[in-house]
């Protein structure tokens, strides 16, 4: 476990090498550095993980103090890594899934301009993400949090020559920044109240300092929730994720599906004690998740871009995680986080393969009948999609989603449960709609077949993990997160399971009816009056962009237009002009003449000595 710091160090070194050597590297060398650093990090994780599971008792932790930055009086800024079951799970997902995505990217990005730039950002991302999950205090966590935000921004705008991509990047950055501000305020509140940023201390001190429902703890948890919804693309800060698909597909797989967007879930799980002290806020987490999963599910139904379908499905799946957090199903949330990372990474990478096969075509209605050309990708999509739609027993998604629905039901929040069930229904529809349209039906483009080791290995591994095999992975969360307890858990188990299976299969049937073959019903609905009205709204994410445009952007531009001459800046302009005034006044004194310099010394001496004399006399009298 002593090597824990290497999981951070390898990607960081990889980033530095790539960033400093830049174009001096050949593509192959850049790939070796970029992928190799993550590979080494993943190997370290495996080693550390085995060591941890063997040597640390259940619910235990391992703390590695890297260095004490400063220790002045009561102020102690030390940096440490904190490893427990939760962070080990996250670390495994980040480095493991991250490695396969990097490997895939080395194939996917080949020949693109800025190959080494891409890997330098990706390595920086992994380093920041590792810091985020391993940091033992909120300051370090925030550093990682901002680091991944930066990388997300850089990678969304990777193809910056296209203006739309730049705008998408700015949108993502701005929207998540709103969340980050809330989070920073939350951290300030916690520090002001508890006097520490150390997460473990916070978990201990919070119940001592606050009683349940204390206004301060409500405020703190609300602010943290604000940060979480921003990063995890939940209502009301969900609008950026669909546009974030402008980045290269491996980026979407790693950052905008598997890891970064789940940071909000991690944050809430990490500070669970604070949220448990504010039950209303915790319920709000669940409600936010439920609403998001529904809205995102609706929107996914009508998307035409293969990646946007997956983006909305990501929002909706994170909605499930939030829902799970909200009902207290902590380990179910983290379990779904992990399985989601597997199958969503698989789906995105497969989508990347499809896009490559179709010569960078992303519109699903221009594809079709691809299953013959790229059968392996088809298989991946079937398994990944099945997991997404929680296809019973064979896929990993079934086990995790079932756990969430079961615990939601058992916790008594039946409204949330029904919302989850409806969401599952829609998930099933839009998933199979995507598969039917892309892989079946008539062939519309001439797709070429694809080969390569670094293409099929990541897909193959993720494929296996997305089947029921993935559910055998044990997450050492006992003792780290509170266990879910409910009297009705056992008795409602079969009821919920049957309901969930039925919902999924009915959704599949609906999808078959609507989207198989000629898709007549689907077309007639979309051409009916209601369809014409609704589908554009749904396609644009239920009109949130439109709403925010009117609510924030337009008024902001309006105010900006009124304030064109910038009255506030005038006030601030005062500072430079004052400084300039001071500068020119002082410059006069530097006239280069020794006699004047001597005079200033004499003047200073007269003043100092006079002051000392007066003070001495007054002090003694």
């Amino acid at each position: 476990m002593n090597f824990l710091y290497l999981t951070f160090l390898f990607p960081a070194i990889g980033f530095l090498l790539l960033a400093t050597l830049r174009t001096r590297l050949s593509e192959n060398l850049a790939a070796v550095i970029g992928v190799g650093s993550i590979g080494l990090s993943a190997l370290t994780t495996v080693y550390v993980g085995i060591d941890f599971l063997n040597n640390v008792e259940q619910g235990g932790k391992y703390v590695q103090t890297l260095w004490t930055w400063m220790h002045v009086g009561d102020f102690n800024a030390s940096f440490g890594l904190h490893l427990d079951g939760l962070s080990l799970t996250m670390l495994g997902v980040i480095t493991g899934v991250g490695f396969f995505i990097h490997l895939f990217a080395s194939w996917y990005m080949r020949g693109e301009a800025g190959y080494e730039r891409f890997f330098s950002y990706m390595n920086l991302f992994v380093a920041s993400m590792v810091l985020l999950v391993l940091g033992d205090n909120l300051g370090l966590l925030y550093l990682g949090w901002e680091g991944v935000g930066l990388c997300s921004y850089l990678l969304i705008g990777f193809y910056y020559s296209d203006r739309a991509n730049g705008e998408a990047a700015i949108k993502a950055f701005t929207v998540t920044r709103v969340g980050d501000v809330f989070m920073a305020i939350g951290i300030f509140i916690i520090f002001q109240q508890l006097g520490t940023l150390d997460i473990q201390q916070i978990l201990v001190l919070a119940p001592q300092k606050w009683s349940e429902g204390d206004p301060m703890v409500v405020a703190a948890s609300l602010m943290l929730l604000g940060g979480a919804v921003g990063k995890s693309a939940q209502l009301p800060l969900q609008t950026w994720l669909a546009d974030a698909m402008a980045g290269p597909t491996p980026v979407s797989a790693l950052i905008h599906a598997a890891t970064m967007v789940t940071a909000g879930v991690y944050l809430i799980a990490r500070t669970h004690t604070v949220f448990e002290l504010a039950p209303d806020v915790l319920l709000l987490v669940g409600v936010v998740g439920a609403i998001t999963l529904l809205i995102a599910g609706f929107s996914a139904l009508v998307q035409t871009d293969i990646k946007r379908v997956l983006a909305y499905s990501t929002m909706s799946q994170i909605g499930y995680m939030f829902l799970a957090l909200g009902v207290g199903a902590w380990d179910a949330a983290i379990f779904h986080l992990m399985t989601h990372a597997f199958f969503k990474a698989l789906l995105f990478l497969s989508a990347g393969a499809v896009i490559i096969a179709c010569h960078h075509e992303q519109n699903i209605f221009k594809m079709g009948g691809l299953w013959k050309k790229i059968p392996f990708v088809y298989a991946c999509f079937l398994v990944g999609g099945g997991a997404l739609a929680a296809f019973p027993f064979l896929t990993v998604g079934f086990f995790s989603k079932d756990a969430i629905l079961l615990q939601a039901y058992a916790s008594g929040h039946t409204n949330l449960f029904w919302a989850g069930l409806v969401g599952a229904f829609f998930t099933s529809i839009y998933t199979f709609r995507l598969i039917f349209i892309v892989f079946h039906g008539e062939e519309k483009t001439h797709a070429h077949s694809i080969h390569g080791f670094s293409y099929w290995l990541p897909l193959g591994v993720l494929l296996v993990l997305s089947t029921f095999v993935g559910s055998f992975i044990h997450q050492p969360l006992e003792g780290v997160l509170p266990a879910f307890t409910s009297a009705t858990l056992e008795e409602s188990k079969h009821f919920v399971e049957i309901l969930a299976i039925a919902t999924g299969l009915i959704g599949l049937a609906f999808a078959f009816v609507f989207f198989w073959g000629e898709r007549r019903i689907a077309k007639s609905i979309s051409e009916s009056g209601l369809g014409r009205l609704l589908s554009p709204v749904l396609r644009d994410g239920c009109g949130f962009d439109w709403l925010y445009n009117w609510l924030f952007v337009k008024p902001y531009l309006f105010i900006a237009a009124i304030n064109r001459h910038d009255a506030i800046a005038k006030l601030f302009d005062l500072i430079p002009s004052l400084a300039k005034l001071g500068n020119s006044a002082m410059s006069v004194t530097e006239n280069g003449r020794v006699r004047w310099y001597a005079t200033s010394i004499a003047l200073g001496a007269v003043l100092v000595l006079g002051a000392v004399l007066v003070l001495q006399v007054t002090f003694t009298h």
Binding site: E590, N591, G592, R593, V594, R595, A598, T599, A602
Partner: protein, 102 residues
């Protein structure tokens, strides 16, 4: 041996010191500047002797010898610079040396 109040001796030193200071502020000729610096040093030396004689200890005179050393050192470097300065500018006007400012 004349017993006088120490304060009067210090007053004389003070007067000499301020006279030297005035000279440094007023004169433009480097040679005069150096002389005025010598005056200031000498005033400090006088103050030390006066103080030493109040306590009847040799420390004042030891300090005087140190000041003498310093005065000699500064005078020699100062005069070397004066020579160099005169060679370069054909003038001893210190205000010529105000190329750097601002």
């Amino acid at each position: 041996m004349i017993a006088i109040p120490m304060e009067q001796g210090l007053a004389v030193a003070g007067v000499l010191f301020t006279l030297g200071l005035v000279g440094v502020m007023v004169r433009r000729n480097i040679l005069f500047l150096l002389m005025c610096l010598e005056v200031m040093m000498n005033a400090a030396a006088l103050a030390f002797i006066v103080a030493g004689s109040r306590w009847g200890a040799p420390d004042g005179q030891v300090m005087f010898i140190l000041i003498l050393t310093l005065a000699a050192a500064e005078a020699s470097i100062g005069l070397a610079i004066v020579l160099q300065f005169y060679r370069r500018h054909h003038s001893l006007d210190i205000d010529v040396a105000s190329e750097m400012r601002g």
